[in-house]
Subunit: 342 residues, 2 copies
Amino acid sequence: MIIDCHGHYTTEPKDLHRFRKEQTEAVKNKSPLPSKASLKMSDDEIRETVEGAQLKLQRERGTDVTIFSPRASGMGHHIGDESVSLEWSQICNDLIARVISLYPKNFIGVCQLPQSPGVPPKNSIAELERCITKLGFVGCNLNPDPSGGYFNAPPLTDKWWYPIYEKLVELDVPAMIHVSGCCNPAQHTTGSYYLNADTMAFMQLIVSDLFKDFPTLKLIIPHGGGAVPFHWGRFRGIALNSGRPELDEIMKNNIFFDTCVYHQPGIDLLAKVVPTDNILFASEMVGAVKGIDPKSGHYFDDTKRYVENAAGLSAADKQKIFEGNAYRVYPRLKDTIARQAR
Amino acid sequence: MIIDCHGHYTTEPKDLHRFRKEQTEAVKNKSPLPSKASLKMSDDEIRETVEGAQLKLQRERGTDVTIFSPRASGMGHHIGDESVSLEWSQICNDLIARVISLYPKNFIGVCQLPQSPGVPPKNSIAELERCITKLGFVGCNLNPDPSGGYFNAPPLTDKWWYPIYEKLVELDVPAMIHVSGCCNPAQHTTGSYYLNADTMAFMQLIVSDLFKDFPTLKLIIPHGGGAVPFHWGRFRGIALNSGRPELDEIMKNNIFFDTCVYHQPGIDLLAKVVPTDNILFASEMVGAVKGIDPKSGHYFDDTKRYVENAAGLSAADKQKIFEGNAYRVYPRLKDTIARQAR
């Protein structure tokens, strides 16, 4: 079984965009918010949005299951206040649940959280709990920068975040550290901002005692770990100079990178420096980079090809990356796949 | 000849730190600023600070000349106002000139600029001009985020920056895009902040028309280009999807990466994906990562070894990286080396 641990619902029904636009305008103009009841998204329309996109690509590329969450750039935690973020998150998470109810064999749910700048992460616990226990999701996306581009939240290792980690541990689900759309003109959402947040998060974690406090907490850093594998020696050196152990040791049961790296030499490097046990297969499709690489003739985000062709990975390594590691990182995944396949 | 294009004076005389500490405290307390005349740094002391560090490492590693600028993390553009930044920059640049006057065969000067948050970059022109024409420097470090960690300056492609580019072009000198010390607790100065600024800058440049407006402007993105080579496919895909040409074409005569990447697989990747013509040898010594890699037995920042051992680089490629490209990127370099060697 090939499990893609990083997919977003980026082909949402049109009326969702209409609603969000109205919600955003209302926030800006301090006018009445649109009604949730106004949303019109039929099952047929939802089917249409995934049949020609995620499902088609799953079939073409030969992947089986996608761990699926709302569009990351759409979370927009910086838009409006906490209540706006909560309503929007509930709508987006419920929509993921509807996609799953239509295609239970193809998608497994991960939720967005109703974060908001300056609001304690503990306020996101109720929605997290609802998504895991009521909707049957297996994890969440945690935004380390609800400001949308200014990196002004406390580091992920600050006690500010501890209540949400306690709940993650209690529910036995991991978080993918994932920022949302960037409202800072200096950073490009998918080009620099996502990667910068990944690099920032890793650096925060490796010089902290977070995993002494939460030995079973599992955090996924997407997009191959940002800049980290390319600068593995830099991060190793800084860790060792700070009296920390080797990165392999620090990452061991707690930090995982995905394979959203869109060229063969990048995946080769990832496979070479990062322990195989800490790599999860993912493509981020349909996502950050659409289109076909004119040099290879294949989709940039068809990462399965790169993993299959990666220098130095044995068949057993590939099995871990494609499937085995995912069960370890998402403890609820195996049962959820079995339940949804019934 | 082996030219290291990225070295900082990170072993400054003690009294410089005393002065800066007093200056910073005075800014904080709104008390009188320390006098520049109080600074006591003898030639002997300056000799001592480099003999056991940069010069020793040049000899041991077999590099010939270092393009040398004030400590990057020490620029501290967010400290105090424009006049504080100007005085501090003049002191730091004059100190580089003194090091060069003592070791003209070993060091070539690059200046820091008296930037300050919210202050137009054009206000840095006078100090740039002084350093190039009076002190004989060959380039400058340009900080894309004078806030020290919040990335809230206009993108480098904004007209805000154009006056400084006009002067760079007129003087025929390049700028290295380099942030300073980070005052944002979410980002680690040398671990994530430097790399994030590099990645941010590259992304700004590749979707802009900056080099149509300044066809001869040369910008160096240090630390191997941040996350870019590892995510070469991602950036290629985003560029092509935005109707831009291939990255090779975009970078051609305008964007250059250095080799401050502290492990062999990283340098191998850099050499594989980035055009050889756009790579400059550099070590950032004595810099971000001190100490010896316990696995290799060599200094992390001894990047000459990695370049020498890089898979797929011919002798001609290595000559370009070690020497040839530097003359192209720093048009004043050849004459300056000759003049200082007399």
